[in-house]
């Protein structure tokens, strides 16, 4: 059994009275590609946001490579309207890393609704994501005493752009790219943070079948090339079935199934959740 990379234990995320994620537990092991699927509004992106610490879970614990990213239990006020399973194990102390700390630990993500830096070029977008691994400080950087580092950054960024096939577009404004290329750029930008775990939020959304096919090959390729573990949310079942080692299925915030692609395809609960449809 390979090493456990991400561990989500009994995570509940509640907004006011709405329970978006209900007592979710899952594990992702090193080198795996794991998919999280479920109908729209099932709480998939919310789960991602908990992992990357954009949201603080109402209850539960998330740990990455043995280090706790977030740990919480409902406070007094929340307890009254709390709709998840009652907390027990995580009341000792609260932990919440900020999103940038999580990224520094080695979790990178893309966004469902593309969030590129619109005012920057393709190259700058990628280079910005290397800022967190810098050695220079604000004085050396301002006085341009870190030319070696800048050069190395640029080289690495160009390499990454080559990997995703955007090298010739490096000086274009990021938002002027076509949709599919913007998604690739988001992946390149995420890779620039040197992640161990890559979270892809609907990477194939808006792509045509041919692009989708290319994408699955691409995901496998970067997994091997960069030694990644990948956690993906996706609606394109073809893609999911092709790349995933394991799949988790959520509906109305609750985990309803877990297993290999073959097992999930047979699972009656999953079929019911998707109203019998395999492809949305």
């Amino acid at each position: 059994m390979s090493q456990n990379v991400l561990k989500i234990e009994h995570v509940t995320m509640q907004f006011g009275g709405v329970v978006a994620v209900h007592d979710l537990s899952m594990e992702i092991n090193e080198g795996e590609i794991v998919a999280l699927i479920g109908p729209n509004g099932a709480g998939k992106t919310t789960a991602f946001n908990c992992v990357t610490s954009v949201y603080e879970p109402t209850n539960g614990r998330i740990s990455f490579l043995g280090k706790t990213i977030a740990q919480n239990s409902p406070n007094k006020k929340m307890r009254k309207i709390y709709g998840g399973t009652m907390p027990d194990a995580f009341t000792d102390h609260q932990v919440r890393l900020s999103p940038d700390q999580v990224t520094k630990l080695g979790i990178a993500r893309t966004f469902q609704n593309i969030r590129l830096f619109g005012g920057m070029t393709v190259l700058e977008n990628v280079m910005t994501a290397m800022h967190l691994r810098r050695k220079s400080n604000v004085f050396t950087a301002t006085l341009h005493l870190n030319m070696a580092e800048e050069k190395a950054m640029k080289k690495k960024a160009l390499d990454l752009l080559e990997t995703v096939g955007l090298l010739d577009l490096q000086d274009e404004m990021a938002t002027s790219l076509p949709y599919g290329k913007q998604r690739l750029l988001e992946i390149a930008r995420a890779l620039a943070t040197d992640p161990k775990l890559l979270l892809l939020d609907e990477p194939a959304a808006g792509m045509n079948p041919q692009e989708t096919d290319e994408l699955s090959a691409f995901i496998k390729r970067i997994k091997d090339q960069f030694g990644l573990t990948i956690f993906v949310i996706e609606h394109h079942m073809n893609l999911v079935m092709e790349i995933s080692d394991r799949i988790y299925v959520v509906d109305f915030g609750k985990l309803i199934a877990e297993g290999t692609p073959a097992e999930i395809q047979e699972n009656p609960a999953v079929i019911a959740a998707y109203l019998g449809g395999e492809d949305e």
């Binding site: 954009v54 990178a108 910005t128």
Partner: protein, 370 residues
């Protein structure tokens, strides 16, 4: 590689233009009478250019809508004045406070840096609570802090340091940089070049910051805070950094304003001053350093010089031009500003910089489209 070369030539052209401006200023100063309004405009324009660029760093490049600029200028101006008033003059200046607390005077350049540092230190403290606020709330909180700073500096219990609400004067001004011969006659005029040099160095530093990895991170924050954070950029630290650096240069700008005005008083640093600088930034183009510089000079020239004739009765032959009397200048001026704000929203430069102007037209057009 081809693109790189193009950028380099345009950079060279830009450098040449800047060098020409400096040479021009120097020559003008030696040849034109020192009383010309031109120099008043140039000195104040250089000062405002620095302050506007420092505000642009926050508003245009980091996306923090801060309205505290006047407060930091005040701190800088006071720090500069307090540390540079000659000891002999302190008795007169601090007339109600027995010559004040501080009994030494620093040279100008260290005092300028101290002015910036003090402003940055205040910014650090103010930033701790307010930088967690978003857009409008940040704007109003910084505006509030500027007002609080003004009140503190006017408090007579601090009079031994700040001279209460009274005027500070006798500190070295731009005119003290003129080189004089033994008879006290000016041989080489430097009083306009010096503010250009100070502002130039500071603005160059800001531009270098913007083009560094930190600058990219700040722009990332402006474009998308969530994504920036997800890319490992610590929002608070970087906002704090930008806020302190902006205030540092605003502080130096304040000190320059003190040098330009030769007297300084907390009363003048109102929110109206911040608005004025904000308008300069907008007219120049939010996110363009070049734009801020150009519009500072235009703004100052219009308000202090070119439109002055509107304030006085003018006769064309026997015809008295109607409407012209005291205050008309400001009416015309504000209407011009409204036209710019409403119809030329990109400002003079948009987000373009000086080197961009020398790039080939086609390239420029592509950028506009983008």
């Amino acid at each position: 590689m081809k693109t790189k070369k193009k950028i380099n030539t345009s950079m060279l052209w830009a450098a040449l233009v800047i060098a020409l401006v400096y040479v021009g200023v120097f020559i003008a100063e030696q040849t034109l009478p020192a009383t010309s309004m031109l120099f008043t405009v140039l000195k104040k324009g250089a000062t405002y250019a620095l302050v506007a660029v420092s505000m642009n760093l926050l508003n245009g490049f980091t996306g923090l809508f801060s309205l505290g600029q006047a407060g930091f200028m005040l701190i800088g101006a006071y720090a500069y004045a307090i540390f540079t008033i000659p000891v002999a003059d302190r008795v007169n200046v601090y007339q109600y406070y027995n010559g004040g607390l501080i009994q030494f005077a620093m040279p100008v350049v260290p005092a300028l840096i101290v002015a910036g540092l003090v402003a940055a230190a205040f910014a650090f403290l103010i930033g701790l609570p307010v930088l967690r606020l978003k857009s409008d709330y940040l704007a109003i909180a910084t505006l509030g802090f500027a007002e609080i700073i003004r009140a503190i500096f006017q408090w007579n219990k601090l009079g031994a340091l700040t001279n209460g609400s009274n005027i500070l004067r006798e500190f070295p001004t731009f005119n003290d940089f003129n080189i004089r011969n033994a008879e006290g006659e000016v041989t080489v005029y430097l009083s306009t070049l010096v503010p250009f040099v100070i502002a130039g160095v500071c603005i160059a530093l800001i531009v270098m910051l913007i083009n560094s990895t930190f600058g990219r991170s700040l722009r990332a924050i402006k474009d998308d805070e969530v994504a920036a954070e997800a890319m490992g950029i610590n929002l608070f630290h970087h906002k704090q950094l930008s806020f302190c650096i902006s205030s540092f240069f605003a502080g130096i700008g304040g000190a320059m304003l003190a040098m330009y005005q030769s007297t300084i008083q907390a009363k003048a640093f109102t929110s109206a001053m911040t608005y004025e600088i904000l308008l300069i930034v907008v007219i120049g183009g939010i996110g363009s350093v070049t734009g801020s510089c150009i519009s500072s000079f235009l703004f100052v020239a219009c308000s202090e010089w070119w439109l002055r004739f509107l304030d006085q009765k003018q006769m064309i032959g026997d015809f008295e031009v109607p409407l012209l009397r005291n205050g008309f200048r400001l009416v015309v001026f504000s209407i011009i500003i409204m036209i710019v704000v409403l119809f030329f929203r990109q400002g003079i430069m948009g987000t373009k910089e000086l080197p961009d102007l020398f790039k080939r037209k086609k390239k420029a057009r592509q950028e506009v489209k983008a």
